[in-house]
């Protein structure tokens, strides 16, 4: 038996807040059935005057005008959203309870209109930024568990009753705000005026569970903050809110949400409405009876946005694990499943395998550390100066630009960018292969093992062993670009456009990581389609992949318009010799899966085998002129094919229960082969560099850092066998050599550009040294800014420098080295001999009217540059000299924005319901 409060002496009117999409009928019906009948009922807002007249209720344009014309005898106004259906005693309990506790504003408990036993909200708790926290689970049943009248930060917008005088003083609802933000705003303003805000759970209102525009709600919350808080609170709360939105915009895509534009739009909206916000603020603050502390009392600590983001990320990560059980309660059960263990092992594997790369990429092979500044890297890629060798205007690889952007996101920390790129590549690659293979019903355990074989198997290790950072990272994007093409074709043209956009931006991402691998997803899917020509779904995936490539190519600008493709594909040597043991293991796995795999898995294995074999062909095309880029493409194909074979072989074993014993034996042999390939991946664990070479170059050049100060710059002439030199090398009388910056060469120096006048002159100097015609090689090398000569390995060229009158052999080093006995062995210095340092791709130092820069001359350096020379005397009166970028910079920026736009478009369209 319940005790009913005494009938209130108040008189109330009902203001039904009109909504174009909501029906008034059942709301009016429910109002009519109220046990406590209101004095009058009004429809507020919208174009409902005639409708209201027809229904026999009043109409007012706005709540403010309604409150203004109400008689003083009216004590309360019930704000009811159109479309809601209040229980018969909703108004009665609202008024009676609020009067009982002396609340100025009271809200009802909202229940789902379609499922009246489920809760929508029982008052709102917010954080300091006005972001609401409902505190209930999705689809939580109403069992009266929250039925306690209590103070809340805000009343829910569906049903709330306010004292008429208070509402009049507040000026009603802010008409610019979305409903929830308006309710929060109203509640906060009421509290600042000293009113109590409560929720009355015994007042039940059924409300539709629709959602308002997210950006409008976010914009409204920001406006509400601006109106109600003191300047002191705003000084920290506003920037923090801004940063939280930025963080959410960056990380939320990982959870499948895109908030960047919502965030931007909300802030821009507030910027545009700042004058009206300030006017409203003045009105609120002028009558404030309570401080911010009173607001904080009912708010939760921390950020609801960040909590929600973290929860989404965790949930997303968990959802990617192969399990149908998503509940928290199933976690323990999940952890006992092999998939969880294998996934956890893969996660640990990725962390351990890449742990050393958090100190930066090593110097060796094609790898060098990222530039100190991400902005410099982007600028150098997009029409800037290529500082390799003696410098040139030749196009740098797009990976440099992309890595530069990523580095800027990570606070311009090259080490963070390197480590995170490598880790994300490993995680993304393993995860991508798992997702890709799941398309063909390969379970997660085989999928994860296949992913490990993909990212750290023999082929991937060969790529990584060459220091080809770009292709290591790009490997991770390949399965995703394929996955988006092979995923079930969605219904509805909007989502299909989203799918094509997704294929486009993923292909563009892949291409910008490594143009070498752009065609791999398309080619692999084409091979699959050719294996089953009658299956239209395969051809559809080919079409999607082809669309992605077509979209990606223009987004490869400026690289795609600047590169010499003949030279590109012929640079280096494509010849891969796989180890016999692992080759045999791979062949065994392939053969076993093709011969004995059940349920059509043999087709998958055959496809993987063919892709790997074609990759093997590409990786051995040196005789046909194939270079290292074809080698990378071939090796990536081998890695992809091998991973498919490994996944098929393990999956076949998993399904082997229904096959005969002979086939089971064959599958067992295949699984042993596949296991050998996977186990070989453990080789990357001990060094912790993801298979990349040791930092031989960094170690070898460390001595230069001790003997050159930070305010000067020089080069080192590296000699040795070609495989011991970083990047590519030049030849003199068959002996390999190259120049590089010291003490810290960066990734943009890996690939030497086409030889220029400086290279020709240096070759002549070295010829003379070899011929015994030069006695003062140091003096000649100093003119190229070369301060040291370092032998990276056995070469007769090293001995050629012995006996030179101005080269000082450096004792105590692991490798033969010589110091040029000249103070002028600098890359940049004033005419007085004061050194200048390298600053990005430019130079900086003490201001001087003339500075000698020993780089390949180019008009971009200034009008004084003579294109035939490799040293320039330039105006250094500003203290810095920079290369003026060409129009390619705009292309690079355009490509970046287009790529981001595509990603956004795909996310919006694919998730649209």
């Amino acid at each position: 038996m319940s005790s009913r409060p005494p009938r209130p002496s108040s008189l109330a009117v009902v203001a039904i807040l009109a909504d174009r999409d909501a029906s008034l009928d059942h709301t009016l019906e429910a109002v009519a059935l109220q046990s406590y009948a209101p004095v009058e009922t009004f429809v507020v807002g919208g174009d409902y005057e005639s409708v209201a007249a027809a229904l026999g209720v009043g109409w007012e344009e706005s709540l403010q005008s309604l409150v203004g014309r109400l008689e003083p005898t009216i004590t309360h106004v019930w704000l009811l959203a159109a479309g809601t259906a209040p229980h018969p005693d909703a108004l009665y309990t609202l008024i009676s309870e609020s009067e009982r506790v002396g609340a100025g504003l009271a809200g009802s408990k909202l229940l789902d209109l379609e499922h009246p036993d489920r809760l929508i909200s029982v008052g709102l708790t917010t954080d300091v930024f006005g972001v609401p926290y409902l505190g209930i689970e999705e689809d939580e049943l109403d069992a009266g568990q929250y039925d306690v009248l209590r103070d809340v930060a805000a009343a829910a917008p569906g049903s709330l009753v306010a004292r008429r005088d208070l509402l009049k003083g507040l000026g009603g609802l802010d008409r610019l705000l979305a409903p929830q933000a308006a309710a929060i705003d109203l509640s906060q303003r009421a509290r600042v005026l000293g009113a109590r805000v409560v929720v009355v759970p015994s007042s039940k209102v059924a409300a539709p569970s629709g959602t308002e525009s997210a950006w409008r709600e976010e914009a409204g919350r920001i406006r509400a903050m601006l109106k109600v808080y003191s300047w002191l609170t705003l000084a920290w709360a506003l920037p923090t809110r801004f940063l939280i939105g930025l963080v959410e915009a960056v990380l939320a895509p990982l959870a499948g949400r895109w908030t960047l534009f919502r965030w931007l739009r909300a802030w821009l909206w507030n910027l545009a409405r700042l004058p009206s916000t300030l006017r409203a603020r003045r009105a609120v603050r002028a009558n404030a009876a309570a401080g911010d502390a009173e607001l904080f009392r009912y708010q939760m600590r921390g950020s609801v946005t960040l909590r929600s983001l973290w929860a989404d990320l965790v949930e997303t990560a968990r959802a990617r694990f192969p399990s149908d059980d998503r509940g928290i309660g199933a976690l323990a059960q999940e952890m006992r499943r092999p998939a969880f263990g294998v996934a956890l092992a893969a996660l640990v594997f990725s962390f351990v395998a890449t742990r050393e790369l958090w100190q930066g990429f090593p110097g060796g092979g094609l790898s060098m550390p990222l530039p100190d500044s991400g902005a410099d890297a982007v600028a150098a890629y997009a029409g800037g100066w290529n500082p390799a060798g003696f410098g040139s205007t030749e196009q740098l690889p797009p990976f440099l630009g992309l890595a530069g952007v990523w580095q800027q996101v990570l606070f311009d920390r090259a080490d963070l960018a390197s480590g995170s790129l490598a880790l994300l590549a490993f995680l993304g690659g393993i995860w991508g292969i798992t997702r890709l293979l799941r398309t063909w019903s390969v379970d997660s355990v085989p999928g994860i093992l296949a992913g490990v074989a993909y990212m750290a198997g023999p082929a991937a290790r060969t790529i990584a062993g060459s220091g080809d950072v770009a292709n290591v990272v790009a490997l991770a994007a390949v399965p995703w670009a394929m996955r988006v093409a092979v995923a079930p074709w969605p219904a509805g043209w909007i989502r299909r456009i989203g799918r094509i956009a997704a294929a486009g931006w993923l292909s563009a991402l892949l291409a910008n990581l490594s143009p070498d691998l752009l065609l791999l997803p398309l080619a692999a899917l084409l091979a699959k389609a050719l294996l089953a020509v009658r299956e239209g779904i395969n051809w559809l995936s080919v079409l999607v992949a082809a669309s992605g490539v077509a979209i990606a190519v223009p987004l490869l600008r400026p690289w795609v318009t600047s590169v010499d493709f003949t030279g590109y594909f012929r640079a280096g040597v494509a010849y891969w010799e796989p180890g016999t043991v692992l080759l045999t293991a791979g062949l065994l796995a392939t053969a076993a899966a093709i011969i004995a795999a059940p349920d059509g898995l043999w087709r998958l294995a055959a496809w993987g085998g063919i892709v790997a074999a074609i990759g093997g062909v590409l990786a051995r095309t040196a005789g046909e002129g194939g270079g290292r880029h074809l080698l990378a493409l071939g090796l990536a194909a081998v890695a992809l094919g091998t991973s498919v074979v490994v996944g098929s072989a393990f999956e076949a074993v998993r399904r082997a229960a229904g096959v005969d014993s002979l086939r089971r034996l064959v599958l067992g042999i295949g699984a042993v082969g596949a296991a050998a390939v996977v186990v070989s991946a453990l080789a990357v664990l001990a060094p912790g560099r993801g298979g990349m070479p040791a930092d031989e170059l960094g170690a070898a050049l460390r001595f230069t850092g001790a003997s050159i100060d930070d305010n000067s710059a020089a080069r080192v002439l590296l000699v040795g066998p070609p495989e011991s030199l970083p990047g590519n090398a030049r030849r003199v009388r068959g002996a390999a050599y190259r120049v590089i910056s010291v003490p810290s060469p960066r990734m943009w120096e890996v690939e030497l550009p086409s030889p220029g006048p400086a290279d020709a002159a240096l070759e002549q100097v070295l010829e003379a040294v070899i011929e015994g015609e030069s006695f003062r090689a140091g003096e000649q090398l100093a003119e190229f800014g070369i301060r040291w000569i370092l032998a990276m390995g056995e070469t007769p060229l090293s001995a050629a420098f012995v006996g030179q009158l101005d080269l000082i052999p450096l004792d105590g080093l692991r490798r033969p080295a010589f110091l040029v006995d000249s103070e002028e062995a600098l890359r940049a210095m004033t005419v007085n001999g004061d050194p200048w340092r390298v600053d990005g791709t430019g130079f900086a130092g003490p201001a001087a009217p003339a500075v000698l820069i020993r780089e390949q001359a180019d008009a971009g350096w200034g009008l004084d540059a003579d294109p035939g020379d490799w040293s320039m005397t330039l105006d250094g009166s500003s203290g810095s000299i920079e290369y003026q970028a060409g129009p390619e910079r705009r292309q690079g920026q355009l490509a970046l924005w287009l790529g981001a736009g595509l990603a956004l478009l795909s996310a919006i369209l694919r998730r649209r319901r």
Binding site: G616, V617, G623, E624, G772, D821
Partner: protein, 457 residues
Amino acid sequence: MAAVIAIGLLAASLPAPPSDPGPEFTEPIEPATEAGAQPSLWYCPWINSGATRDTRVAAAFLADVEIAYTHPDPRVGEPEDVALLRADGPGAVVQDIAEIANRGDAPGLVEFSNGPATAAAIVAGESSLSGDRCIGSVPKLWHIAGLTTRDGYALTLRLFNPFPDNAKVVVRAASELGSEALPDLQSIDVVGKNWVDIALDEAIPFLDTLAITVGTEEGTIIPTVVQSRGADEASWPGTGLATEWLFPTAALSGLAPRLAVWNPSERPVEIEVDLFTRTSAVGAVRTTTIEAGRPFEVSLADESTGALGVRVRATGPVAAVVVAEDVPADVAGEDDSIEGNPAGSDAPVRIAATIGAPQASKSWLLAGVGGQVGGDSSIWLLNPNGQPVTVTIQPLGRAQLAADKVRVEPNTIRRVRLTATSGVGGYRLDAALPIVASWSLQTPDAVALLAGVAIGE
């Protein structure tokens, strides 16, 4: 499966790329001992220009050149003394080193921006004359024969390190008694761009016949020796090894010649000594076996009273030097056949020495010979062929001068006495057949023998 196998076989059948041929050279090309048509650097370790001696460095060249004279300062950190000179070729110039570095010992370098070119250093004192051609190549091991530390002789070994890095030098010696222990000379530090003089007559005294080998554990070194007797002195540089050595002149003006041969190898070497006179050749006047690691010395004073040319042929690589000096008093009384004044009287005692040429050549460049250095100079020609040969003698100087021709009979030597033509600082010699050329310089009190430099093909 068939497709996988077929594509796999295709991949396996693809040919490997041609292996990288690697460097086209196994080690840097050593600077030639000849004067070639390229820039060249000549090391002149024996230079003294101070109160008691003057040194003139002669440069002869056949092309327009820039010549750089560089003399390191022995004080650490002090800059080198450098003089630059531009000259039109062919020509020859003689540079008084006192004008560049007048501080006594000042070993230096002569760099030519073009070639063929060569340099020689002539050190002249009040009663002394010494010098030889400068060094154009730097072998890893240097061998110097013909030394003595017997009573009355002073012997200095100069270790010149013209390079910026320090050198650690090892000196090994052998005498008629066998290998000499030199514990103090096993690790001699020579600072970069500096030199060290070692008094061998104090380190290993009273040895009649001495030969040394100079090598380095670290760095590179240019050694030379200065052998003094009385007021006069002789200087000759280290050489490499060869199986044949040719000396166009071994004796002049009554000096008693001796041939010193040094076999530093680990096996005995047979040698055969041929003599050439103005009229004929005398083959195999001496045939002997030199034990491993032993020097050998033979007096040639008994073989001829006049000028002599010498050829040494050996079954293994050896070093050889000819030393000519006034006969020691104890020897003069025993042999009246030697022309000139024996030592022991009040007359100054003269001594000279020179290295030989390892092979004959059709063209030679003699730097310094002529009127610019003063004294009486002669060119010595050795024709080791069975046919007569006509030699064109082209004087080189600051102006174009007319050439002369002389005929040298088969297997003979010929001396060409030169008049002191002012402005001549060197000679170019050309012949149709390979010959050997050297030159001598003498004053009333002193004499010097200097080797020529062959011009490369």
